[in-house]
Amino acid sequence: MSMPAMKAEMSAVVTPPAATAAPVVTMTPKRTPRAETYARMAKETAARVVPPLIVIALLLVVWELICRRAGSSLPPPSKVFKDTRELILDPFFDHGGIDKGLFWHLSASLQRVAYGFSLAAVAGIALGTLVGQSVWAMRGLDPLFQVLRTIPPLAWLPLSLAAFRDGQPSAIFVIFITSVWPIIINTAVGIRNIPQDYRNVAAVVQLNPLEFFTKIMIPAAAPYMFTGLRIGIGLSWLAIVAAEMLIGGVGIGFFIWDAWNSSHISEIILALFYVGIIGFVLDRLIAGLGKVVTRGTAAN
């Protein structure tokens, strides 16, 4: 369907230089490849975008067919859209209390993740460096880490509520404790894998420990650190939704729980959609950041 349109576009691009090309010979061969490049780019984009769109459309159709019957326990997509129209169109309303638009819920959750994850990143890289650098620190701490990291995030929540006596710091603590382990472990592996050559260079140049840390360790271990950070941000996002269901207040987790209590199944589905998208964006954000920071490090 779009093919004729594309062809028309191409010929439209190619024609003008052909008409004015007489004096400037190089113009014609320069322009044609550019039009071709656009066409190729469009084709490549289509090749990537069209298949998932088809799958999504098919799934929606199947979902619609299954859930459209009377007495179905879950709403079909058409009903979800109809029920949540207002939430989708106006995510910024604020009627006080917890009656707020989805934007506010999501931003509250993201804020908690930002605090908890930042703390985890700093602590995780510091501890990971210690454990990676010192054999004794590793012997002392590693068994502890291996046990602690298997504790499910939510199991920490009652304890942190007891300690902090408030929902907000408890949620942040849960984020922290969930995401810190992969950061520690990956950083430690990265530090341990710094080639002896780099250490020798640092020794010959006589870098002091601080210079060694900033100029050798951080860049050399950065790819590992970012692996840890990426796993960490994913886990934080997983944990925050669960934690918020329990602590209440503003936040996407509690929004879902509240929707369930009020039997607004459509709202739950919409919230899940947002949670998924944001989790995906967070992951890509850290991955992209890692790519920028570690450029040149991996290649040798």
Binding site: D197, Y198, N200, V201, V204, Q206, P219, T294
Partner: protein
């Protein structure tokens, strides 16, 4: 005769669990200022360990290293090393790799502008000034090694330690870099200690060749003076009787008297 660098009764024993391996046994060597000395031996004879001891990267079990009559036992820029696999930091540009050492060594004695000029001066010594903003992954193996040499030279070492510096390069690049190394030695008069397993390279570049016996407990088997006038030209030497004789002596040592035995 005043010894500039002195390796004094060095023994090295590695201990792993209950097993102890004596790698080096009673190594004595004195090197004069401005001398180019090569250490040659079969792989596994401990020559790299010896270089690491001189560099201070590994400690000697007994004995020690004296540089200008002062004992040195930790690494430092006065004994800069050119590593076999270049060891450039991949996240820094060519310029920054050289600058890393320069900034440390001349932190107080040179201004920022002087340090910058000094980095560029050393890069142009090895003909790498044009690639100053490239990263190590963007330049060839020979170029990387040139930068490695520039980095070491820029620290103005008292002794330049070369650990099989040309071993990982193809034959043509290697010859090219050997010529560069000779020219630099001629120009700057550095004291150089080089590890190699290439007989031609040792004879071509060195004033003296230290031949090591096979390990374990490797010793200095023989020291050969290379009485060839400098500057030396690769092509002319190919038929020079003095060159051929030296070459013959080293080959005999390595392949007749101390031929390589497969490590058990």
């Amino acid at each position: 005769m005043q010894a500039y660098l002195k390796l004094d009764h060095i023994d090295k024993v590695f201990t792993r669990g209950n097993a102890t391996t004596e790698v080096l046994k009673d190594i004595n060597l004195t090197i004069e200022k401005g001398e180019y000395v090569s250490i040659i031996g079969h792989s596994g004879c401990g020559k790299s360990t010896l270089l690491n001891i001189v560099a201070g990267l590994t400690g000697a079990t007994n004995g020690g290293v004296l540089l200008e009559n002062r004992e040195v036992n930790s690494p430092g820029p006065d004994r800069a090393v050119v590593f076999q696999n270049h060891s450039l930091l991949p996240w820094l540009t060519v310029y920054e790799n050289v600058k890393l050492g320069v900034d440390k060594v001349f932190a107080r004695t040179k201004s920022r502008a002087e340090r910058d000029a000094w980095v560029m001066h050393n890069l142009s010594l090895v003909q790498m000034a044009h690639a100053k903003d490239k990263r190590p992954s963007e330049i060839s193996g020979g170029m990387k090694q040139r930068v490695g040499i520039a980095r070491a030279l820029a620290m103005e070492p008292k002794v330049l330690l070369l650990d099989e510096p040309f071993g990982a390069l193809d034959a043509l690049t290697r010859a090219h870099l050997q010529d560069s190394a000779m020219a630099l030695h001629q120009k700057l008069g550095n004291t150089i200690l080089m590890i190699t397993h290439d007989v031609d390279e040792a004879v071509l570049l060195s004033d003296r060749i230290v031949m090591m016996t096979n390990g374990p407990s490797a010793r200095i088997g023989e020291v050969l003076e290379v009485p060839l006038a400098r500057p030396r030209k690769r092509l002319e030497l190919a038929t020079n009787p003095g060159y051929l004789k030296c070459r013959q002596r080293v080959l005999e040592f390595l392949y007749e008297r101390h031929s390589f035995v497969e490590a058990a």
